[in-house]
Each structure stands twice: as structure tokens, then as C-alpha cells.
């Protein structure tokens, strides 16, 4: 029984790592622009599909992965330039509808490019499953967790240790004043979409060897990413990381003990509870929102 639950936890850690990456993308865009980007999960799909289809066409895996991340970043850039920027001045609800439209459009576009067939990628490294206190992790899990570590470390260093990162934090803290000091808010908004898309793309590349990928995979990642981001308080990158892992573990344990159908259900029940009882998230301080 305990061993079984432990195995669920390990499975949840792998999923949680990807949820955390998607959540990081949400948080980046939300902090910089105030937009909840419902299309965030599609960047994961674009990354995974591009890498898998290029690898299937004979491209070396590393090259395919690099191209996939660039493609995802470009999709993010286009999404911003074609759908978000022209609507500037729109209210919150309109922006929700626009990113929802983006989500729908990107999923439809994927059907044109890749059709309905599932794709897969070989694991990045050969080797046996990793044993951990009686549980098992697939070798690819090490790549997933390592990527998480790198991405979050890079984000931390950027925001805390670089000049530009500090400027972004200033822009988030007080846009009008940052603007008077010459901080280019619009460029930052654009960059937040590109970086969030690239992070999603990276997530898609590293996770694809485990479950595979198809045109509608982005929906699941996107929905889970929301929950993780809200768990973390929507405005905190450490929160996104924690939220991702908590959600991954809770979903797997609940899915394993109750029934697989409840996996998603539990996640969304938690989302509702957090929204109502603790909108500042697990780590957040109370009352930033009026």
C-alpha cells in the first residue's frame, strides 16, 4: 500500500515538473501583462509536436529539440503580435476571450500541420529505470527534473541578478512610474509571451518521450498549468514551482487511490477551493487584491 502510494507520488513528481513549467509561463505573462493566457498549454504541444515530427523525419534529436523551442517561441511572438497587441486597451473579459480564441486556433492549426496522429520521441538517454526507495522513475524523468531546475534557476538569476530583470520587476510593481523612467512596457509584454512560449516549448520537448504527444495535448497541460499557477498565487515563480509539484502529486495519488477519472477532477476541486479560500495562493501574502 505504502509502496503503491510512493509510486504514485513519483509519477506525480514527473507530471508536476511539467505543470510547474506551464505555470511559470502563466505567471510570467500574468505578472507582466495582467493577462491569463489560456493558450499557454498549446506552446507545450507545439514544442512536443515539432520535436517529435522532426525527429521522425530523421533529424538528430538535439537539433530537433532546439528547432522545436525556437518554433514555440515564434508562435508566442506571433500570438502576441497578431492577437494581443492589436487589442490593447481591451478590458479583462475581452482579453480572456482573445486568448481562448488563440487556444482554439492553435489547436486547429496543429491539425492542419500534423493531423490527428500521435507522435512520440525516443528518450534522450538510454538506461534503466531509476530506483528510488522502492519506487521507479523512467530515465527521462531525470531530464524533466533537470530541465525544471535549469529553467527556474535561470529565471531566478534573471529577475534577481540582472539589470533587465530588475527593470521587469519595476515594471510589474508599478507600470506607470516604470514607464516614466523609460522602461519599455510593451517590449516587456512582447518578451513575456516569447519567453513563456519558449518555456512551454522546452517542457513539451522534454516530456514528450514519456506520454507522447498529439494535436490536442496542449489542453491538458494548459488546464493543469492554470491550477498549478493559481495554487502558487498566480504572481509568484516559486509558487508556480511548488504549485506544479503539489498538483502533480495530489492528482496522481487521488487518481491512483480513487479512480483515474478523478485525477483531473481533484485538481479542479482544489483550484476552486484555492480561488475562494486563499486567492493569494499557497505561498502568497494576503490581500493584494481588492
Amino acid at each position: 500500500m505504502i509502496a503503491q502510494v510512493w509510486q504514485y507520488v513519483l509519477g506525480g513528481v514527473v507530471d508536476g515538473a511539467i505543470f510547474a513549467l506551464v505555470a511559470a509561463g502563466f505567471v510570467l505573462i500574468y505578472q507582466v501583462t495582467g493577462i491569463i493566457n489560456f493558450a499557454q498549454g498549446e506552446f507545450v504541444m507545439v514544442g512536443g509536436m515539432t520535436a517529435a515530427s522532426l525527429a521522425a523525419a530523421g533529424m538528430p534529436p538535439l537539433g530537433a529539440a532546439a528547432v522545436a523551442v525556437v518554433v514555440a517561441a515564434c508562435v508566442g511572438a506571433l500570438a502576441y503580435l497578431l492577437a494581443i497587441r492589436p487589442a490593447r486597451g481591451a478590458t479583462g473579459v475581452t482579453l480572456i476571450f482573445i486568448t481562448l480564441g488563440l487556444d482554439v486556433a492553435l489547436r486547429g492549426l496543429a491539425l492542419f500541420v500534423w493531423g490527428t496522429n500521435p507522435y512520440s520521441l525516443p528518450p534522450f538517454s538510454a538506461g534503466n529505470a531509476v530506483k528510488l526507495f522502492g519506487g521507479v522513475l523512467p530515465p527521462q524523468a531525470m531530464w524533466v527534473l533537470g530541465t525544471d531546475l535549469l529553467v527556474f534557476a535561470a529565471l531566478y538569476l534573471f529577475f534577481q541578478k540582472t539589470y533587465v530583470g530588475t527593470a521587469v520587476r519595476a515594471a510589474v510593481a508599478n507600470p506607470p512610474i516604470a514607464s516614466t523612467f523609460g522602461i519599455p512596457l510593451r517590449t516587456f509584454a512582447f518578451a513575456s509571451f516569447v519567453v513563456a512560449a519558449a518555456i512551454g516549448g522546452i517542457g513539451g520537448v522534454v516530456i514528450t518521450p514519456i506520454p507522447g504527444v498529439q494535436y490536442d495535448a496542449g489542453l491538458t497541460y494548459g488546464l493543469a498549468g492554470f491550477v498549478a499557477a493559481v495554487l502558487g498565487g498566480l504572481e509568484s515563480l516559486p509558487g508556480a514551482l511548488l504549485g506544479g509539484f503539489v498538483l502533480g502529486i495530489v492528482e496522481h495519488v487521488a487518481g491512483g487511490l480513487l479512480s483515474p477519472g478523478w485525477e483531473q477532477g481533484v485538481g479542479f476541486l482544489i483550484l476552486v477551493l484555492v480561488l475562494v479560500l486563499r486567492p493569494q495562493g499557497l505561498l502568497g501574502r494576503a490581500a493584494r487584491r481588492a
Binding site: V93, A105, L106, G108, F112, V276
Partner: protein, 319 residues
């Protein structure tokens, strides 16, 4: 001078109903089926427009109320042999009750968080459909009895007329509502909840009533859908259907009742046309690729025509 004079909703709706009732005798069965579907979706979208367009809120979980209406009517008909006419009323009642309870959770939130909460509640309800064996679990409900009038069991034509008769009643009722002080107060809430409250409006209560009403529309639509299809399963009422209702609502025009009908007609018709035309040009296209165009249309409309296609000739609610 507005486009539609007072109370014209009901008259126009009667004309539309008459056209539909006449058309079903000439149209091939396939098109009659599409008309029925457009009518059912229109009904849901009219309710959604009251909540999103007039009251200025957002719901990404409307399909769940359609599902509740459908399952309630199916359970009543199959287990208790209740006629679908009463089943539809029961479906509306249960959907309203669930919406009422959930409103205490969801309507405390605004904009982004309300969107997430309704999305989440919609998905949780869908998981319940999937996991509850009493209502068929993931394999759904089969052999749901059809509507009857005396000895006459409804055929596809009758369903087209029924669904559009409900649209007519729905438009007439909503038309009266949005022209009443209730409707004007909703618009005040959407313009600024705090300001409306300062003027003595009980925004919480009005939002709740509108949310419940939108669930009633969805519940009735779901009950008709269940009897019309005679088969339902959880996947018919998932998140993607909720998104489709948002597409219909926004494309047609959020703050317009006929916009709801136009939006439903466009989403269904454009989908069918694209499914027929695109594979000729691009033989590899398959699946629901029309979603790409619908998503693009939605974005284009929000940027170019924020009031939707019906916005130009919009009745009522011109702020």
C-alpha cells in the same frame, strides 16, 4: 431610435419560427438536423449572453448546465418514466439549483478568476458525469425516450420546430427582461459594479439571478438535446463545448439576443462548410480543423468589431 421597436423580439421570433416550421418540410433531413442543433445551441447562447453580455460576467463552464439538463431529463425518463416535457422542466430546475449553489462560490470572483472558477466547476461536473455509475458513467445513457404529443412521437422535423419554438419563447422572455429595469440594472453592473452598488443596486443578487437564468436556458436545451439524440455521454458536455458557446456568444455579439442565434448559426454552418470545402484544397486535413478558423474569427471580431456581428444593428443595451 433603435432598430427593433419595443417588444419586437417576440414578433420577429414568431416569424423566424414560422420560417423554420415551413422550411423543415422542404429541407433534406441533414439540414433539418443542423437547424435543430442551431436552435438548441441558440437557446444556451441566449442565456449565456444575458450573463456575459448584459451582466458583463464570464462563464467557461456553460456546457455543464446543458449536461445537467440532459442527464436529469434522461434519468427521469428512463428510471421513472417521466415524460420528457416534465423532464425538461426538471432539467431546468436541477440546473438552476446547481447554478444557485455554485454562484455562492463563483460569483464572489471577477473576470480572470471567475473565468477560471467556472472553467474548473464545469470540468468537475463533467468528471462527476464520468464517474457516477448510476447515470451511466463514461459509457453514457442510451435509449432516452423522445418527446410525444398524444400518440405522435417526435420526428426530426418536430424536433427542429420544438427547438425553434423554445428559441422564440427564450428570445421573447429575454427581450422583455433586457428592456425592463432588471436588464438596465444588469448593464449598469457590467459598466461598473462598484458604481452600481453605490446607486443601491444589489449586484450580487442580480448576478446570481442571471447566472441561474442562464442555467435554466442551458438545462432546457440539454433536455431537448438528450431526447433528440436519444443518447448522451459525458464527452458531449466537456470543456470544448463550453468554449464553443463562448465562440457563438462573442462572434454573434455578446450584448445582443439575436446575436446569440446568429453566432450559433455561424459556428455550426461555418463548421459544416469548412468541413466540406477545406479537404478539397488540403486533402490531409482531418478532425475539427474548422476550430482554427473559428478561433481566428473570434480574435478578429474582438479586435475589429468588439460588439460582434450583430453589434451594428444591435437592439437594446446601447450604452
Amino acid at each position: 431610435m433603435s432598430f427593433a421597436p419595443q417588444n419586437a423580439y417576440g414578433r420577429v421570433a414568431l416569424i423566424v419560427l414560422a420560417v423554420v416550421a415551413a422550411a423543415v418540410w422542404f429541407l433534406p433531413a441533414y439540414y433539418t438536423g443542423l437547424l435543430t442543433l442551431i436552435g438548441i445551441y441558440s437557446l444556451v447562447t441566449i442565456g449565456l449572453n444575458l450573463f456575459m453580455g448584459y451582466a458583463g460576467q464570464v462563464s467557461l463552464g456553460q456546457a455543464a448546465f446543458v449536461g445537467i439538463g440532459a442527464y436529469t431529463s434522461a434519468v427521469l425518463a428512463v428510471y421513472l418514466h417521466v415524460t420528457p416535457w416534465l423532464g425538461a422542466a426538471g432539467g431546468a430546475a436541477v440546473a438552476a439549483l446547481v447554478a444557485y449553489v455554485l454562484s455562492f462560490v463563483a460569483l464572489r470572483l471577477r473576470e480572470n478568476l471567475l473565468a477560471l472558477a467556472t472553467l474548473a466547476l464545469g470540468i468537475v461536473i463533467n468528471v462527476v458525469f464520468n464517474e457516477w455509475e448510476f447515470i451511466g458513467g463514461s459509457s453514457g445513457f442510451k435509449d432516452i425516450p423522445g418527446f410525444k404529443l398524444g400518440a405522435f412521437t417526435f420526428d426530426p422535423r418536430a424536433y427542429a420546430i420544438l427547438s425553434w419554438a423554445l428559441v422564440a419563447v427564450g428570445i421573447w422572455f429575454a427581450g422583455n427582461l433586457v428592456r425592463s429595469s432588471f436588464g438596465r440594472t444588469l448593464i449598469a453592473i457590467s459598466a461598473g459594479e462598484l458604481g452600481a452598488q453605490a446607486l443601491g443596486v444589489d449586484a450580487e443578487k442580480l448576478k446570481r439571478q442571471t447566472f441561474v437564468l442562464s442555467a435554466v436556458y442551458a438545462g432546457i436545451a440539454g433536455a431537448v438535446y438528450a431526447s433528440y439524440q436519444s443518447y448522451i455521454d459525458p464527452s458531449s458536455f466537456g470543456f470544448l463545448l463550453s468554449v464553443n458557446f463562448v465562440l457563438m456568444s462573442v462572434i454573434g455579439g455578446l450584448r445582443s439576443l439575436w446575436g446569440a442565434v446568429i453566432g450559433a448559426a455561424i459556428v455550426v454552418a461555418l463548421g459544416q462548410i469548412l468541413q466540406a470545402v477545406v479537404p478539397v484544397v488540403l486533402p490531409s486535413a482531418r478532425g475539427d480543423f474548422q476550430q482554427f478558423f473559428l478561433g481566428a474569427v473570434l480574435i478578429a471580431i474582438l479586435i475589429l468589431l468588439p460588439r460582434g456581428l450583430a453589434g451594428r444593428v444591435s437592439e437594446g443595451g446601447r450604452a
